[in-house]
């Protein structure tokens, strides 16, 4: 390895055209990013708004947590975790409205389960369950209850 010699630094300059192109690109992408934040939705990825944790939650409204449960054709009931169907919990929550509108769409989740477990029994029932944690002044009261949002069985 050659040691760094004390040489005066050389400067690599950009042509005026090179600078203009780069400034133009910066302006266009910056404009898209700003537009995404002002009027865009997640759909505009990668220029959508940075809305992580951006919604306001009331200190007294219950906190919801979604999960899936399944019954396989052997009659075993178990918690259906995201990785077993190739989807994250947030993705199930993101499509919850579509599943509610048409529970048959959960058939796709059953297909994904079969793709990932080709040798085991298939699914005879899928439920999306929401747990509501009660809050009082922003603090959990320790009470909760579950509701089944969507249920699917093969026809």
């Amino acid at each position: 390895m050659v040691q760094d010699r004390p040489v005066s630094p050389t400067r690599e300059r950009l042509s005026t055209a090179g600078k203009a192109t780069r400034l133009g690109l910066t302006a266009v992408l910056g404009g898209l990013l700003l537009a995404g934040t002002v009027v865009g939705q997640d759909d505009a990825f990668p220029f959508g708004p940075f809305r992580m944790y951006s919604t306001t939650d009331s200190l007294d409204a219950p906190v919801k947590s979604t999960r899936m449960e399944a019954v396989d054709t052997a009659g075993r009931r178990f918690a259906l975790r995201g990785e077993e169907v190739g989807l994250r919990r947030a993705e199930i929550e993101g499509q919850l409205g579509r599943f509610r509108d048409d529970p048959r769409r959960l058939g796709g989740v059953a297909t994904a389960y079969r793709n990932r477990h080709p040798d085991g029994p298939g699914l005879a029932r899928i439920e999306i369950i929401t747990r509501h944690f009660a809050l009082d002044g922003g603090r959990p009261t320790g009470q909760h209850h579950d509701t089944v949002d969507v249920a699917w069985t093969p026809r």
């Binding site: 950009l14 919604t55 297909t111």
Partner: protein, 291 residues
Amino acid sequence: MMNWFFAPVPLGRVAALRTLAYAFVPIDLFLLTPWVLPHKDVPGELYRPLLIGRLLHLPTPSFWLVVGVCVALTGCALVAATGRAPRLLGTAVFVLYFEWMIVAMSYGKVDHDRIGFLVLLAVLPTIGRARWGDTETLSERAGWAMRVTQIAVVCTYFLAAWAKLRFGGIEWLNGATLTRAVLRRGTFLSDWTVQVPFLLVAFQWFIVAFELSSPAVLFIRSERLRTRVVAGFYAFHVMVYGAITIAFWPHLVAMASFLPLERVRPIVWIRTRRQQRAERRQGEVSVPRSP
């Protein structure tokens, strides 16, 4: 303004950042976001194409598309990490990683930690060759690439504050968003915080203040001070990770564009140390022994 946009940067910084960014890609694929690859098993009816997917008529991800992108991306990124063919491989990594992101974000959930890293991958191929440890060639090309990456990183903070006002309203500051986050994802380090009145609300004020003031880091001239401020940014993310085990890994890689990475020379350090140790040992041997 022009000087600020194109403030020259040593090419050694680009070489180091290239290795960091491209080596990060397989780590991201297999360790940090291992949930993307399983989309290969999800039937097309659950694919919800994003605007960009619809505009570009991108295909619905199939088993072989997802596996193919994964293999090609891993291969290109590993070779690119060595600094070879920076324009060709860099462009390939950007295009493949972008498609990987489409596969990741098109099933009902979009993540918001990618823009800085995507910008970094997009601009790295524009710089051309760069040698590790090169502190003598100052490049305006590299200066612009680092600057736009930094801007994207800062936008992630600043525009996140804007999004909070847009979606949550000013009430966000006094709401229960963090309480909800800790209830859902809390750890032993953070679970106690929901029981302390006003603590999480105070932290919400802190977050917005931090996000709104983050652009200042773009204008710090002293490298020493800038490095310290950016270290503070990293500390913020360590704290968030401890509290809710969420880390914006690609964002954290892109943020390294603020740091004087050309001075980080792990291989040279190991070599020098080994050499010194060898010399010391030689010195011991050459001491004449009395019979």
